[in-house]
Amino acid sequence: MTRPSTDPTAATQGAVSQVLTFVIGDVTYGIDIPCVQEIRGWTAVTRLPQAPVDILGVLNLRGAIVPVLDLRLKFGSTNVQYTPVTVIVVVSVMSAAGAREFGMVVDGVSDVIDISPQDVKPAPDLGSGASAACIRGLIQVAGRMVVLLDVNLLLGRESTAAGPESDIQAA
């Protein structure tokens, strides 16, 4: 339940930005630290009727009703389990309607790493899969490949709203 530092200077310096990495299956993903609100352990969510399969439901985040997206289901895993060590990463994204928060279920959070924008390689053409659409780039960290995701594109609804700006900001 730690709240990572959201020191704005880290993102705006341009030289180095911080990325939170987490794992799903055997792939390591990374997202920009400033959009991370909170990391919390698994709690049961309230199901929403007629929701897409990867939207598990909603939970109470200090009084706000926040939807929870299972990133594992979105990225095509079929055998997912919810145990006390399952983690929900709560992120905040900008959409046309203003700031929105949502939780992402991942297998586990690994690390906070510093990256230089020039080290980010563009992603090869991966076709039209759910994960491919959200990839901002790839980066090599300590011999492991980290897939950088654009959280603004993860909730299907916002796919067009804030995408390009966040790319520029990160670059």
Partner: protein, 687 residues
């Protein structure tokens, strides 16, 4: 160095709109036979303060129009013109025009200059006619706006109706601008009085290097052709007197009186001197009057979002309390009893806090009701029906959001009452009724909700025609027998517009179905009771607030859902024999001489229930969208007040769900949108 005045615009518009409402209601109360001096004074003050504000902000059209209006009102106040029905109508029209002008100015839209000019012409015509009639008996006078009583003896030039050219020299001191004086504003005000010619003298202007940006190097010569007295001109310079050298003198040659339809409004001189007492209370400076009012009511203006924030925080508190009290039940040990007592104390304080905060958002319904006297009067005149409006319970308070949204449905209902309800006078006389029809609007609190009744003593609903119409439209089968209540319910069906059922005036574009939808969007319901020949009664029941709902929590599988109490009728356990399965698996059960369909909530929400057989669970009878259905649930958990939390902030709209709430254990429960659920279920059946 002028102050940025735009920051005060909103306050000006707010106050002006309120002032216009006050003016309108005073006008409607005005008895043309024996006008009450206080009402006329109120109306006059409204016009005066709007004029003052508009002049300050440089809204020329508004200033000019209100000036004419003010002149007329002053004549009325001085009893030099007697109030007639025509003048009263004219004044009411002026309220509309001013509202439109203010609205247009606020929205930065162009003003409908033609409408304004027409009305202004009519107003000035009345003033001038009086003048012409009274010209036979001239006498010495002071001007209406004139504070001549204070500034001393009237000058020679102040003969009534005579135009004089005033030569004004304005030589500001160097600190003129630094005191926030804006000469343009002064000139603008002068221009209202008559024909103004301004010449600026640039001779004192230094070179750019020597120029101090805050200093005034200009001076002006002004020529004003006006019939205003010297004091009125000097009054405009009242605030700058200390900073400058000012001379005001008449050029000598008096000019011919202007024509009535001159483009610039005329200040006309009263013929008989007004009694000193009237002058004394005549025109208190607008700002002073407003300040006095604000102090009288002891109120402050607060932004709605600040209040909403407060309500949200209190909502959080309610949830935190629920958590605390749940935890305290599990606590054992020596201090556990003290803990529970403290939490009970907390609960009492919190309820009180919650009620107080809720009350901040509450406004009396008179804010909505007040528009109806005017509407009934106008519509009655247009349709040539004599209608009297009775309003009771206007002090009943309800939430501001509800208040804002209930206006339109009520307007529609009242229109219908006049249009279709109240019969023409002849028909009423023939039926042995009072020729003046009555519409009664009443508001009252009933339990945790508010009831608004709109009733008329008109012809009532014609059940046979409605039924015939429904049969042709195929809504009702040819052989179906409907009770009177069921027939009257039909008017709320979409596409069943009242204009089609009844006769003449139509083209409203909205039917009673829209009224019902508006009401149910607010979480309320509407019923109709009508008796042929006696009249109709529309009864709207609304929740007091949109922030908290009285709910019945029900369990389905591992989920908890909240049913708004207002939609629920009763819950019952059905025996195996009470349910009939009709075509394609639809289940119905008998309930008070009626057959209601069953919606199995677990199917609708796709959860695994504990009870699948109908006799294992419970059926809650709910009402919405004008229909009743039975919702099949596992169990009832209890009744509680829940704080409404939006699902749409972070997610989006979900069919059948109105909002969410947070339960005592911190988990989220969904609040069902019963009308939407019923509509959704019938769509599914149809598909």
């Amino acid at each position: 160095m002028a102050i940025d005045l735009t920051q005060f615009h909103d306050a000006f518009f707010d106050e002006s709109f309120e002032a216009l409402d006050a003016m309108e209601s005073s006008l409607l109360k005005l008895d043309t036979g024996s006008p009450d001096a206080e009402s006329i004074n109120t109306i006059f003050r409204v016009a005066h303060s709007i004029k003052g504000g508009a002049a300050t902000f440089g809204f020329g059209e508004i200033t000019s129009f209100t000036h004419s209006l003010e002149t007329l009102l002053d004549e009325l106040r001085g009893k030099r013109i007697t109030i007639s029905q025509r003048i009263c109508d004219l004044l009411l029209k002026s309220v509309d025009v001013m509202r439109a002008m203010l609205g247009a100015t606020k929205g930065k839209q162009p003003i409908d200059a033609q409408a304004v000019a027409d009305l202004q012409f009519d107003i000035e015509l009345i003033i001038v006619h009086r003048d012409a009639g009274a010209a036979a008996a001239p006498s010495s006078a002071t001007a209406p706006d004139d504070s001549g009583a204070a500034t001393g003896a009237p000058a020679d030039h102040e003969e009534p109706g005579r135009l004089v050219e005033w030569l004004i020299e304005l030589r500001p001191g160097p600190e003129f601008f630094e005191r926030g004086t804006d000469p343009v504003r002064i000139f603008r005000e002068l221009a209202v009085l008559g024909n103004l010619l301004v010449t600026a003298h640039l001779d004192a202007l230094p070179s750019c290097q020597d120029m101090h940006p805050g200093r005034c190097y200009l001076s002006w010569s002004l020529s004003l052709v006006s019939d205003a007295p010297e004091a009125a001109i000097r009054e405009i310079f009242e605030w700058v007197n200390a900073d400058c050298d000012l001379t005001v003198k008449a050029s000598g040659g008096a000019l011919a009186p202007r024509k009535a339809a001159a483009p610039v409004p005329t200040v006309l001189q009263p013929v008989s001197a007004a009694p000193p007492s009237v002058i004394a209370e005549a025109a208190p400076p607008a700002s002073a009057a407003q300040a006095a009012n604000a102090m009288d009511s002891g109120s402050i203006r607060v932004g709605v979002e600040k209040i909403d924030e407060l309500i949200n925080t209190v909502g959080e508190l309610v949830i935190t309390h629920a958590m605390l009290s749940q935890i305290s039940r599990a606590v054992t040990g020596p201090s556990s009893e003290a803990l529970r007592t403290a939490i009970q104390q907390l609960e009492r304080n919190m309820r009180q806090l919650q009620e107080s905060v809720m009350r901040v958002r509450m406004l009396p319904i008179s804010a909505v009701f007040s528009r109806f006297p005017r509407m009934v009067r106008d519509l009655g005149q247009r349709l040539e029906k004599q209608v009297e409006l009775k309003i009771t319970g206007e002090t009943t308070e309800l939430d501001k959001t509800v208040l804002e949204k209930i206006g339109d449905p009520l307007v529609h209902l009242v229109r219908n009452c006049i249009d279709h309800g109240i019969e023409p006078a002849a028909a009423r006389a023939a039926a042995g009724k009072n020729v003046v029809g009555t519409i009664h609007m009443n508001a009252s609190h009933r339990g945790g909700s508010i009831c608004i009744e709109v009733s008329d003593d008109g012809g009532g609903l014609d059940c046979e025609r409605i039924l015939a119409k429904a049969r042709t439209a195929g809504v009702v089968g040819a052989n179906d027998n409907l009770t009177r209540e069921e027939i009257q319910e039909l008017i709320f069906l979409p596409g069943f517009s009242t204009a089609e059922i009844t006769t003449d005036v139509s083209g409203r574009g909205v039917g009673m179905d829209v009224v019902r939808r508006n009401v149910s969007d607010l979480g309320g319901k509407i019923e109709v009771h009508s008796e042929r020949g006696r009249g109709s009664l529309f009864l709207i029941t609304l929740p007091l607030t949109l922030a908290i709902v009285d709910g019945l929590s029900v369990a389905v599988g591992d989920q908890t859902y909240i049913l708004p109490m207002m939609s629920t009728i009763e819950s019952l356990r059905l025996g195996p024999t009470q349910v009939t399965t009709i075509a394609d698996g639809r289940e119905v059960f008998g309930f008070r001489d009626d057959y209601l369909p069953i919606i199995r909530l677990y199917r609708f929400f796709d959860v695994t229930p504990r009870a699948r057989a109908l006799h294992d669970g419970l059926v809650v009878v709910v009402e919405g969208a004008g229909r009743r259905v039975g919702l099949f649930v596992d169990d009832l958990l209890g009744q509680q007040q829940v704080v409404i939390k939006s699902l749409e902030t972070n997610y989006g709209h979900v069919a059948g769900i109105a909002a969410a709430t947070i339960l005592g254990d911190g988990s989220v429960a969904l609040i069902l949108d019963v009308p939407d659920l019923i509509r959704g279920a019938s769509r599914r059946e149809a598909a």
